[in-house]
Every structure is written in structure tokens, then in C-alpha cells.
């Protein structure tokens, strides 16, 4: 038995992955107000669901913004390093990772071993993140998870990326009679443009992987492919890249022991 865990406590959702050799189990749930409680509870529940006794767990690596609050972990590793490792495992031979989470967005350049070569994170605001989409969805009367499934329409130009100003811009456009679907298409395009300029800032790109909760949004995904003129891969477990990376690093730790 070589059971290890990776826990990714993000601003919006908490993810956990258990690895036992090549066997794996996972769980995703909302973080709530306490990153420590969220991280503790998800691990206990995942162990229960997958039928492993707690004392067989050999190593735990924590990541995400709540990583330091999980004092029971063996190591805290940044989500940048963990996402790189996890994404490279899910999609071998990638060179670029776009991760858009609830509260930040980042672009990471990696080598074939999933090691970080360079990275770029967004500014200290919600511009272009999951939170941004959530607030816009509220303003338009949609559920955030539906945004990517709306029928495609010619996008209207949204010029503000600041969440507060973009919301007033959206309300102003609604007043002018712009359709909600055109607005959503415009928001997706605005995010994709912003992220694409981050990608270009880090130099050449060829094989791009898109992770994080926003990768579930097909509209943003499509706009990114258009902006970058490349295929952008979204792995099936796109939200789990960080937790998976953490679990893989936990395996490394176990091997070193």
C-alpha cells in the first residue's frame, strides 16, 4: 500500500485526490468560509468513500490558497507547481497551461517533466476569473454553469475587465437592448483576449492545456482557440489538475523516504 493524498483548497472549490499506485479517487466540493475545515472534511470523506483507513495514508501534500492552513499535511506546495505537475500528467508533451480558477488566472510554461519554466499571474483583482463570470452571470440572470452552453451569437465588445465596471457596462448594454447571449459571447471573448496576451508574453506556445473551473466553460475554451489559433486541450478532470499534481508530489516524497 502506498496511499498518498493531494488536497487543493481553492478560493471557490476544494479538490482532493487519493493515489494508491495507479488507482485513484477524487472529490470536488465548495470551499465555504473555512479553508481548514474544507480541507480536513474532504479528505476524511474521500477516505471513507474509497474505503481506505486513515492510518494507511502515507503522505499528504496541500496546495491552493488554503494550503498553509492544512497543518496536518506533510508539505505545502504552490498551486503553480502543482498545476504544472498535474496537467503534464493528464496531457503529456504539453508546453503551456492556462489555469482559470475562482479568484485568479495564470499561465504556466512547463517542460516535458511538468516542471515550471516560467509563469504569469493576473493582477490582484478578479478580472477575467471565475468570480468575474459568476458576477456577470448574476447580472444577466443566468447560472454560471450555463454560460458555456448558450447558443453562439456574434459577440458584443466588452471593454472593461474590472468586475465592478464590467457589471455596469453589461447593465448599460442591456438597457440599450443588446441580447444577453451576445453579451455572454462578448464576456467570453474579453476573457480569452486577456489570457491570450498573458500566453504571448511568455513566448512560443504549441500544446496548450486549459485547466481550472472556468475550463468547463465551452465558450471561453472556443474563444481561446480562436485567439491563439491553436488547439487548446481541456482534460476531462480539468478541475483536478492541482490536487492531482499535489498527490503526485506526495508520491515523490514517499519515494524519497
Amino acid at each position: 500500500m502506498s496511499l498518498v493524498a493531494g488536497i487543493d483548497v481553492g478560493s471557490t472549490s476544494t479538490k482532493a485526490v487519493l493515489l494508491n499506485g495507479s488507482e485513484n479517487h477524487h472529490l470536488i466540493r465548495p470551499t465555504g468560509w473555512s479553508p481548514r475545515d474544507a480541507g480536513t472534511a474532504i479528505l476524511e470523506d474521500l477516505l471513507k468513500i474509497s474505503g481506505f483507513p486513515k492510518d494507511q495514508l502515507k503522505k499528504i501534500v496541500a496546495t491552493g490558497y488554503g494550503r498553509v492552513s492544512l497543518t496536518f499535511s506533510d508539505k505545502a506546495v504552490t498551486e503553480i507547481t502543482c498545476h504544472a505537475r498535474g496537467a503534464a500528467y493528464l496531457v503529456p508533451e504539453l508546453d503551456t497551461i492556462i489555469d482559470i480558477g475562482g479568484q485568479d488566472s495564470k499561465v504556466i510554461k512547463v517542460n516535458s517533466f511538468g516542471q515550471v519554466l516560467d509563469f504569469f499571474m493576473n493582477d490582484k483583482c478578479a478580472a477575467g476569473t471565475g468570480r468575474f463570470l459568476q458576477i456577470m452571470a448574476n447580472a444577466l440572470g443566468f447560472d454560471v454553469s450555463d454560460l458555456g452552453n448558450l447558443p453562439p451569437e456574434e459577440p458584443v465588445t466588452i471593454s472593461n475587465m474590472c468586475t465592478v465596471f464590467a457589471e455596469s457596462e453589461v447593465i448599460g448594454l442591456l438597457a440599450q437592448g443588446v441580447s444577453k447571449n451576445a453579451m455572454v459571447a462578448g464576456l467570453h471573448q474579453a476573457i480569452a483576449r486577456r489570457i491570450s496576451s498573458m500566453v504571448r508574453k511568455l513566448g512560443n506556445y504549441d500544446r496548450i492545456v486549459f485547466t481550472g473551473g472556468v475550463a468547463l466553460n465551452r465558450g471561453v475554451h472556443q474563444c481561446l482557440e480562436n485567439e491563439l489559433s491553436k488547439n487548446v486541450y481541456v482534460p476531462e478532470k480539468c478541475q483536478l489538475a492541482g490536487a492531482l499534481g499535489a498527490a503526485l508530489i506526495a508520491q515523490d516524497l514517499l519515494r524519497k523516504d
Binding site: 490558497y65 504552490t78 498551486e79 503553480i80 507547481t81 516542471q115 515550471v116 519554466l117 516560467d118 509563469f119
Partner: protein, 382 residues
Amino acid sequence: MKVNFLESFNDIRDKNMLTLKEAKENGQKVVGFYCTYGPQELAIAAGAIPVGLCGTREEPIAAAEADLPRNLCPLIKSSYGFGKTDKCPYFHFSDIVIGETTCDGKKKMFELMRKFKKVHVMNLPQHQHQPASLEMMYEEMVRLKKVLEAELDTEITDEAIGAAINVVNRERKALKALFDLNQNKPALFSGSDLLKVSFQISFHSDREERISLLNTLINETKEKAKEGYCVGDSSTPRILLTGTPVGLGCEKVINLVEESGGLVVTMENCGSYKTLDLSVAEDSSQDKLMLLAQRYLKIPCSVMTPNTDRLTLLEKMIDDFKIDGVIDLTWQACHTYNIESYFVADLVKSKANLPFLHLETDYSNSDLETLRLRINAFLEMM
């Protein structure tokens, strides 16, 4: 972990306030300088005490924003705010302050400062290697000398300038020797200790005493090193910090690096290594003001265009200090350093093949956690 002797550097700034007050009461003059372009030698030669006024703390920024735009670099706002609120004794005691036309923000800020302080602004050339620039720099030295003579009611002799050049040269050499001790791997000083020493020593009003304090520290550290003393170990990531100036009160990036297991082994910014290898030529046959002009024009600051000497210096420092990664710090709204970061990134990533991190922030602690994440991830790359 730390060299005990460093404690003698803890309160130089505070102690020197009293010295300064006494000196003022005895009729001595004080000249405030904002920037490393200000030739302190001329103030020393005038028999005055030069003091550094560059604002490195957040406290007075809110007061400064009553007059200045918010979207301005924190260094300028802090400097102005300390003056306006009269909370900095060094500003308070200054009979005149010397500014320079380094960047747009500073030169316009000095116009506002004139409302409550005697200000002289040196007109800096922006192109170091044009012959006309040296002529201009020389004319500015002549103008500054005249202003100081008139304001301080004294005569500045060639002999006095020569002596001032000599003592300031020796001080720079001593500080450089101290910094160079950190070429040692493992390092002998943390970045926060290096900052403490270089920042505090700049407030000591006795130049000879400065040199002797530095030399004592150098000798003590060398002795301790022989007994195996070091900071960190040979696997500790060695970081070079470059970009905008850092002083006590705005050293959060250094602290974050060192809390995260790295060491800032050297700093290229002004106040640190940028100017330490630039001595004024000590040639008795030449016009002293020309010798000063030649030296000060060589400072590799981002206000110059192009500023290739900074890249040459960085490349040498990466080598000499056995650097594992470079952090380029830009204070928000400092356009010259922010844009120049493109070339620094290119040098570090493509030529030196090292990890590079560009950080843009201000003096506040509002982004401490997002900075910590970037710095942690950066150190995990090594």
C-alpha cells in the same frame, strides 16, 4: 544565525537625529538629497551635512494623495508626504533639498514641494553617452555649487571638494567590499541584513565613522566565516534583487523571499550595488566639477535611454554572486523600470538561463499573499 555586531547598525538613523539637531543648533547646515544622482560631495565640501530623504514608508502616502494623484509611484508619494506632514526630522532639518529631473513624477512633484521647502532641481540629461550630456551634467554641477554657496552662505573650495571626493570614494569602496563578501557560497549576510546595514549607514553624519563601522563589520564577518559561520547553506536559492529602490519600511519582497527559504544575496538597485563601483576620479589636475559630472552621469538608472550599462552590471553580478534567480521589482507607476523589465527578463531568461520574476507592487501590505504565492512558486522552480 545573525552576526551580533550588526546590532550596532540598528539605530543609526534614530541616534543621528540628535546629532543633527545639535549640529543645527551649533549653526551647521543640512542639505537633503532625494536620489543617488545628487552629488553629496558638494554638500560635504560646503561644510554641511548631507542627508538622504527618499521616502521608503507607507505612513505619509495618504496625506500626499491630497495633493498628488493616487496613481503615482509610492516612493514619490512617500517622499512628498513626509515633507508635507513634516513628520521626517531629516526633511525638517534640511536648509535646502536637492531634487533631480529623474522621472516625470518626481520633477513635477518637486514643483509642489516648492510651496513649503527650498528646493533646487538638477536638470539631468537622459542620454548618458552623448557628448552634450556630459557638458550639461557639468553645467548642472556648476549651478548646484553656486546655489549651495549662496544658500549656505559659504565658499566651496576645490580643496574641500577633493577631500569630500576622497572620503565618499572610500565609503563606497568599503560598502562594496561588504556586499562582495556575499559572493561567498553559502552567503554571509541575509538580504534583510544587507539592507539594514546599507540603509542605516547612510544616515550616519560622520563619514570617517561610517567607513570605520563598515570595515569593522567586514573584518568581524571574515573572522566568523573562518570559523564556519554562514547564512543558509549551499543549497539555499541565491536571489538577486533588481529594479526600483528598497529601504526600510518597504522591504516586503526581501522578507517574503527569506521567509520562503530563499536568500537575497545581493541587490542591484540604488542604495545598493548600482553605484558602488563608480568612484569619482581623484585627479588633482582636473576640474573637480567635471570629475563629479563624469561619475554621476555613469549611474545606470532606468531614467537614461538606453540604459545598457545596467544590463552589463546585472550580467556580471549574476556571475560573481552565483545567482540562482532574479527578481525585478517595480513600484507601481514607475514606467521606466517597468518597461525596462523587458530587457532584464530577456537577459536573465535567454542569456543567463535562470528563472526570472517581475513583481509590480506598492508600499502597502494588501497584496502580501499574492506576492508570497508568486515568490514561493518562483523558489520552487530552483
